[in-house]
């Protein structure tokens, strides 16, 4: 627990040091490794410290009662390391150090995922995660080698424009893939829904809340080295918007298909990463076409969303963990009715859901509004690249609707209605230690929503290195940003006031009337059961039916004949990317390895032959080369 306080302190230090760029050179035996906190780092440090701290408090309560985690010490050890490396990643000012921190964090989180390693699904999730992390790191390695081409120290200060557009584009692509894997962007997201649910809930909260954001951090950091922003080619922007839209819509559609609460949350992280990259894409487009409003709002929206997502996603993971803890199941179709047994957790999950859906007056709304503002600015410009913001608006609108559907399922099926299983009916409220971090996170969610002008100001400050522009300068439709957000603040407050007024009005109107209790209207049927409620799968089935390829596989045994004996139906969600791409890839690799295995005949003569052939080939190559 001591560690937590230290981390929180570190966060606070970063916070107070935010106005200045403070490079702190710090010599470490093998070279010039240095730390530093600039505005961007500070911006990322803060949620890391906060979520990490909350996660630790939560873990304190979680581990006390959980029988799932066999080795609390093991957990704490890796949690601390993980946390330290997370901080290191955003404070490292040197390529090598950065990579080491990056790798160390991956390993630590791998061990955390594997905490409950007795379960085979957890083991396979852990390995998937490790492989994905290393494939990403491979790209990063190449990236840093290229970046540090003329910079033997690998210090960030030395990185810089490496001239030609081709090289820069290559760097951009490498960064996009390398960091994209970590962030969980769509084609490379497959590890994420495996690893996050497998980890203990405090770890999922940190992983989903902040760890994947380091991918965004990395990408932004690298963007700083890619030269004059106005020279960036337009396709970077498109690519990011496209990837963002793909991740967003794809992620939320896949999230919809989930019946496991934590997997659902994991996929929704993919969606939120999509939102963030969409914002970054709008930024790039805005920069390219010289539309400062579009660029700034896009970047700020993306950055603010990093924060917001960190808070509400950790909140959601913590409440999901509390549910799993209390009921022993994460399957939505076995939950239900939790709002009676776990009122606080339900409220927390509700707050998280509203934030995640981007609904006023919570924080998600503010960042999404910034992105919409950016797109609006893009559409209203007289010419150039107007189709991109249209795509962005369409995608954001669709994501909003889908996220709403998704969290209506998660909260509505999981927490409301009648308990669908005995476990859910017996659910009990969480302990104080678990409740506190959830409460804090929920308050922060609402706080950011209600203090939107401040949040925007802060975000713009954090983005100053990337985009030296201040809110007061940006105008959308003749409005300055601070004035705009004051108006939004007023609207949000008005909404809250109206809610309170209406609630009071309802109370007063009911004061002298008869209010009675009864059962839900069941058409007068004698024996209603909990099965007569929509299931999660039924609730979203026809939405998924519209997106045919993403539809889960149905395993059914239909009622046949006039008097069917038995019938069964189940669905099995499947990740389209996994199915269409990765599974084929793995099968291909397997097939290749199979072929290679044929070389291993186990006979000495053959191996001798191989040796001879190799030597021969080497000789030939050497000869050819020297000539």
């Amino acid at each position: 627990m001591g560690a937590i306080l230290a981390f929180a302190a570190a966060g606070t230090v970063a916070w107070s040091g935010r106005p200045m760029v403070i490079p702190i050179p710090w010599a470490i035996p093998f070279g010039s490794l240095s730390f530093g906190v600039d505005r961007l780092s500070a911006f990322f440090l803060f949620p890391i410290a906060m979520v990490g701290g909350l996660g630790a408090v939560y873990a304190g309560g979680y581990l006390r009662r959980s029988s799932g985690v066999q080795a609390p010490r093991f957990f704490w050890f890796f949690y601390s390391i993980f946390f330290a490396f997370l901080l290191l990643v955003v404070t490292a000012r040197n390529g090598l150090l950065f990579l080491m921190a990056w790798e160390g964090r991956s390993l630590a989180s791998f061990f955390l995922v594997m905490v409950e390693h007795r379960e085979p699904t957890v083991r396979s999730a852990g390995w998937t995660y490790l492989i994905a992390a290393h494939l990403g790191t491979a790209c990063l390695l190449a990236l840093f080698i290229l970046l540090g081409d003329r910079n033997p120290t690998q210090d960030f200060e030395g990185f810089g424009v490496s001239g030609r557009e081709g090289i820069r584009s290559l760097l951009f692509l490498l960064a996009l893939i390398g960091f994209g894997v970590k962030a969980g962007m769509v084609p490379w997201h497959v590890w994420l829904p495996e690893a996050h649910p497998a980890a203990p809930s405090p770890v999922s909260a940190v992983m989903s809340g902040v760890m994947i954001k380091t991918g965004i951090y990395g990408l932004l950091r690298i963007m700083m080295f890619l030269g004059e922003p106005t020279l960036w080619p337009a396709w970077w922007g498109w690519t990011l918007v496209g990837l963002g839209a793909l991740s967003g819509v794809g992620g939320v559609l896949l999230a919809l298909a989930q019946k496991d609460l934590k997997r659902l949350l994991a996929y929704s992280s993919v969606e939120n990463i999509g939102v963030i990259s969409l914002g970054l894409g709008l930024w790039l487009c805005g920069v390219r076409v010289g539309n400062p409003a579009m660029a700034a709002l896009g970047l700020w929206g993306a950055l603010l969303h990093v924060w917001n997502h960190a808070v509400f996603k950790s909140l959601l993971f913590m409440s999901a963990g509390a549910v799993a803890h209390a009921t022993g199941t994460r399957s939505l179709d076995r939950l239900g009715g939790l709002i009676h047994g776990m009122p606080f957790t339900s409220l927390a999950f509700f707050a998280g859901s509203v934030s995640l859906c981007g609904l006023p007056p919570f924080n998600g709304f503010i960042s999404e509004l910034l992105l919409y503002g950016s797109a609006l600015a893009g559409i209203l410009q007289p010419e150039g690249l107007r189709r991109i913001p249209v795509l962005a608006v369409g995608a954001l609108g669709l994501m909003g609707g889908l996220a709403l559907a998704c969290f209506a399922t998660a909260f509505g099926i999981g927490f409301l209605g009648q308990a669908r299983s005995e476990e859910a009916a017996q659910a009990h409220e969480v302990s104080f230690l678990i409740a506190v971090p959830m409460g804090v996170a929920a308050v922060v969610c609402l706080g950011i929503g209600l203090m939107s002008p401040l949040a925007v100001a802060f975000t713009s400050f954090a983005a100053f290195d990337l985009m030296p522009i201040l809110p007061g300068v940006i105008r959308v439709g003749g409005w300055e940003i601070p004035a705009l957000f004051q108006r939004i603040l007023v609207a949000n407050v008005a909404l809250c006031v109206m809610l309170v007024v209406l609630m009071a009005a309802r109370r007063i109107l009911l004061l002298h009337r008869r209010v009675e209790e009864s059962s839900t209207w069941d058409c007068g049927y004698a024996a209603p059961t909990a099965r007569m409620q929509y299931t999660a799968s039924s609730f979203i089935w026809d939405i998924l039916a519209m997106a045919r390829v993403l539809r889960p596989r149905v395993k059914e045994c239909r009622p046949l004949g006039l008097f069917p004996r038995s019938a069964r139906l189940g669905t099995e969600e499947q990740d389209i990317f996994q199915r269409l791409f990765y599974n084929r890839l793995w099968r291909g690799i397997e097939r290749c390895s199979d072929r290679l295995r044929r070389l291993q005949e186990g006979r000495n003569q053959i191996y001798v032959l191989y040796l001879a052939l190799t030597v021969l080939a080497l000789l030939l190559w050497k000869l050819g080369f020297s000539q």
């Binding site: 008869r514 009675e516 009864s518 059962s519 209207w521 069941d522 058409c523 007068g524 049927y525 004698a526």
Partner: protein, 198 residues
Amino acid sequence: MFDILKARLKQKYRTLSYPKGPPPPLPARFAGRPVIGGRPCDTRCRRCADACPVGALQREEGQFPTLDTGKCLFCRECPGVCPTGAISFTREFRLAASSRERLTVTADSQGIPPVRHEIAATIFRRSLKLRQVSAGGCNACEADTNVLTTLAWDIGRFGIQFVASPRHADGLLITGPVTRNMQLALKKPTTRYRLRNS
């Protein structure tokens, strides 16, 4: 659109002017509210009571018979057998009553009983939503209840409407004698209405 208008012109405006105007013409063979004692009656004769298939006609010795319109089928057996014509069916169609006893027609009954309910007259005067529950009828009540919402009768114009859920309703319309199998189902929507045994 054009066809719709044409059809509309062909079908004309059909809502009855009743209750503001005159009631619609009743069929010549319509049997309405019975009247007892229009003519003298042989107080020892029991033919009417014996002819009644449902026992709606009660006959105390030495008095005019009484007819319970809550049971009566309006089959018109009784006026057919009455030697003096003391029982007859009028063309009065207003048969409602606000209590079970008022449904019984005696020789003293004068005119139609007044139907009035205080709450109905104040709160539900302009807006009354009803939930219909059918309990053991023969579906004729339902059929004619549905007729009330058609063009001709159009009870919607009085603010009366049939709604889908008892929660939306201000009152229940129960049709049929209530079968044993409907007992429970009828109790469920009536959290706020006590069932009266009839």
